[in-house]
Symmetry: D2
């Protein structure tokens, strides 16, 4: 494969979309991405894009005006989404960094137009109706939705690496979910966890995870010098965690918290073990599972990851603490929510879909 | 004077109004304040109050629901503003912590109903039309406005302490303006400053100064890990600074900046002196001027105030640095923008208006 | 009781001691406290006090020089600790805001001199040798230590309110421990928790909890934009939590985290219930338990406390979230670590010891 | 030039040195840099390096242990500085990210061994004795020092780009100085500034600028929720600013402030103009001056740079605000203090010294 990939991004004006754009711009195997905005008749202030309104349909929106950090290296105009135009440009892959309602309606269209899609929203992550209910999708065409739900691959490369290369639709995992699933998968696969006693994921996230839309909750004065729990037992990521780990929602408790930092997630995960075990066994269980997976770093006990260690990287960092009784395990899992938790993982998925080295553009 | 003061607050759902309410609740000489919201027909979400809407006119809004820190000591219901009801309750003094448009229309009404008013907005601070123009007041009754403009006292007790006791309307100073005026007044009065060379006030404020309304500018991710200048040469407080110090706006440059902290202001002020001077003379000039003024702390050179030192107090702190050439002076002026820069100063004004000890409820 | 209390504070140069001094200075029933430093022959930089060294024994250290926020209202000189001098001044109660080694040696001395003591360190909190071992006290006089250990009352007024009035030595609780114990006590007393399945306290604290001593860990750049877990299964407060709640350390897991904020604690506590229960029952169990306890605020479900709500107050705030299965409970417990978690609780204990209204000086 | 550059870094355990190492590791034209520590007989905890001590001379220090963000891609061992070993490895260029005393003694040694040096400290930046006095260099060999002072090039590529390619010793500019010099150079060169009225640079920096050594000043609790001015009229960078801009220290006032953020600088610069001018003229004066200089971004009036815009980039951003009187100019200048203010600029200098594209490894 020698030609560069031709890709497009819808939603570059949000935090994840912007981070994705930056990664794609410096990716050696990708052409300058086509940056899209939703078509003329929609009002951008009221839509998913979150960007400022254009005064008229003719006005050009430049991403560097919204994120001045980008300026200085040319323009980044947003053009209205048009399937025919994308086809003409030879774009084969569409990234959606849009709200789930938007992704829910656009993915079927994109697929119908012969495109592959990496969707960063939660629209296509869930196979089980019981979990999907929380999203309240109203306008689904039932048959298409069912077909795409079947087709969509949950894009966590460390777990589903075999299905990603041939996927048409990648449902890019949730930021919280990535830390929790990667933190638990080896232990559950090894059958070491005592699920009867319940598993707990106490997660803490920076504010970019809440999106760019201004609200009382994201006001600086509300967040600074504060910490708050929210969405206990009801957060949308609980469904993906349960599905991917094959747990019931009675077996896992998930509590997200809002941290006074711009980005980064730390999840503290509590598991009871079925029998006494030594710390070294835990660590080697994880090392074995993640052998060859370059974006999971298993820390040597007793070192624990901190949010700073993975900021601006595509790593998910894992560390462990075993109780003196040898039966209770604390797992600490960290990532940059905008990279391994969103844009970086999307690029990792793209690399796998197109036979590019998994770490290309990410190191 | 032995009976407790009866006061009302409109705008307690904003940051300054809330701080004011807390100060009044623990003030030994004030009865529990009447907390007001604007009358039924206005939609509170669209108005000055900034609070959440009540579903119906019957719904009770409780301040402790908006600021849970207040809870645990009874209820703080907001009642609709009614002049007759205030009169019936014997309320003599009304605090307005409302946007300037609201204050502009309410102060004449209040005065017409025989009340005294302390207005925390910029509506009545400016005597000179050239400075007031920036506010674009449209619906003024010209005669009333002129009369009230004449009547209103700029409520900076350290400068206008003699006019405050008998004032009907107090225009409570702007937060930035307080630090700059108090930082410069002694020097200008002593005729030491070389105005020809220009005076510069480089001010930095915490985010609560920008108000509680969510916006792209006050989003946590926009403010954290950042600093930005804004309103250079155009900020509204420039007018009050110039008027109170009897400077032209060519003689003083004022640049505000938005700091990634919830509250507090530090102004760094630069002045050329007419002739060489010794540091001790500067300090004694300030000590003399602020003798008996308990809410200005003059620091001993070379100590400089920092924002933390005045947080949660009603102090304005002043420190000095004289250049080796003896002709350039740097003044550092700090305060808590919600207290000395707003609510605390309002209480200080109230104390003076009613013959109460100036520091009552503020130490 | 009409005369004002005469008290002394050793350790006012640390964060808790400073907060305590501020509370005592404005307490209407307490005379200006005597502020102590350790005697001449010790080097304050190397000792518990953490304050700057005095150049000579004659130099006066003024607390307002260390905490400039205090300045403006007179001096706060620190005088060397002398039992005879304290006796002469009629001081009956000594507050120790000192490291545990210092408290371990000073409390026996103070008691021998007939004083009552409120010790803010961990020196005298633990009755069980197994938990105390972690402190490695070396120079104990065994008999005295045993006697004082027996005498010392764990000063959590909501649990031990009956023993506090007559106590000679109050071991003021740890900051983390206060949130966890108050969060769990009602549930455990009611026998609702299924201890077999393990209880988890995931706690997050502001940096003032780590003390004033500069270190790589408390450097701004290490803490800002970060979150880290530490002391998992080994933190000193685990012992007090277990002892006060009559749990084994196998039954409770405690994980502290360092938050990028100056002060405040939020503990997220996970409990399995023995049988299905309704949310209203949980809430009324807590309301019943804390009836008449003015410094615990039980939030109405589904409201949850946040750190900001209790900052600068002596409240411990409790809120609840019950799983859809009715058998898993998440308790959120918040406080200001320097007030309810240290200095405020110390004042609350003092009030109870001297028959003063429990809330005096704290509201 | 096709072979990769062979370089070494001493001081990689500090903030600037670490950032430099990251930039060099991903630079396509540089071999993995040799990471140095000072020779065995020195105690690293007591020296410039600031890193943790090695238990014995044989212990290997790995940079990834100090900065875990580096881990996952192999080891980064620090080896003791040895001129013969460097020669053997073919290292031609040495970066010093060391305290100025260390650089002062090492640069002559390095030059004597035939190496080129980029020194990030202030040791060799100043030509004029009057400014250099502040550093108090004691052990200089007078002749060598004089010779090297003459030789050393102040490494600001936008000003001294012609002298850098052939330089033996580059004195990499100070972080504050870079923003102020780049902000003023075009205006001064054009002769537009009225120096008689004084120029003011009010600068604000993140905490990484204060170095990694823990101190009371860099403790999180001292910095958070705070702002403080320091070093007014005495900061070391004043000398370089004056020298490079050919100003006397009476003509320029420089006030640094410590911001509660990890990194980034914003300087607000105030200049009186000799005569009335239009905003467009100012902007074109700057655009002309920085034509072809890719690391200075001139903002289009009225847009102003903010710290966030240049974080993690090598840009210095400049924006302008002209007073209504057309005679007072406010310049806002921003950069990432660790990149354009230190490590990035060092790499830019290296590129110029070795004929590599100026932006290589920096975009």
């Amino acid at each position: 494969m020698s030609a560069k990939l031709k890709v497009a991004v819808l939603g570059a004006t949000g935090y994840s979309g912007m981070e994705l754009t930056r990664l794609l711009l410096r990716h050696p195997r990708v052409e300058t991405p086509v940056l899209l905005r939703r078509a003329e008749n929609s009002n951008p202030t009221k839509t998913a894009l979150g960007g400022p309104p254009s005064a008229s349909g003719n006005d050009q929106i430049n991403l560097a005006d919204i994120f001045p950090v980008l300026s200085g290296n040319g323009n980044y105009p947003l053009e209205p989404l048009s399937w025919s135009s994308l086809k003409q440009k030879g774009v084969d892959l569409l990234f959606l960094a849009t709200p789930h309602e938007v992704s829910r309606s656009l993915v079927p269209e994109a697929v119908a137009h012969g495109m592959r899609v990496i969707d960063l929203s939660g629209a296509w992550r869930l196979k089980q109706e019981q979990h999907r209910a929380i999203y309240k999708f109203k306008d689904d065409d039932a048959a298409t939705a069912a077909e795409l739900t079947g087709k969509a691959v949950y894009g966590l490369p460390e777990l589903n690496g075999d299905k990603i290369p041939n996927a048409t639709v990648i449902a890019n995992p949730g930021c919280y979910a990535t830390t929790v699933i990667l933190g638990l998968a080896p232990l559950l696969k090894a059958g070491l966890a005592d699920k009867q006693k319940g598993i707990i994921a106490d997660s803490k996230s920076g504010v970019s995870g809440a999106g760019k839309e201004p609200s009382a909750r994201t006001h600086f004065v509300s967040v600074a010098d504060n910490l708050s729990a929210y969405g206990v037992f009801t957060h949308r990521h609980l469904g993906e965690i349960a599905e991917q780990l094959q747990l019931t929602t009675d077996e896992i408790t998930f509590t997200p918290h809002l941290l006074p930092i711009p980005r980064g997630i730390l999840s503290t995960i509590y598991v009871h073990l079925k029998h006494k075990i030594r710390a070294a066994e835990i660590e080697s269980c994880y090392r074995e599972f993640y052998k060859g997976k370059r974006f999971v770093r298993v820390f040597q006990t007793p070192k624990l990851p901190e949010i700073q260690f993975s900021l601006n990287t595509n790593y998910c960092d894992l560390g462990f603490c075993l109780a003196p009784d040898g039966q209770r395990l604390v797992i600490v899992s960290c990532e940059d929510n905008l990279i391994k938790g969103a844009a970086g993982q999307a690029v990792q998925n793209m690399n796998l879909m197109y036979g590019v080295n998994e770490g290309e553009g990410l190191l």
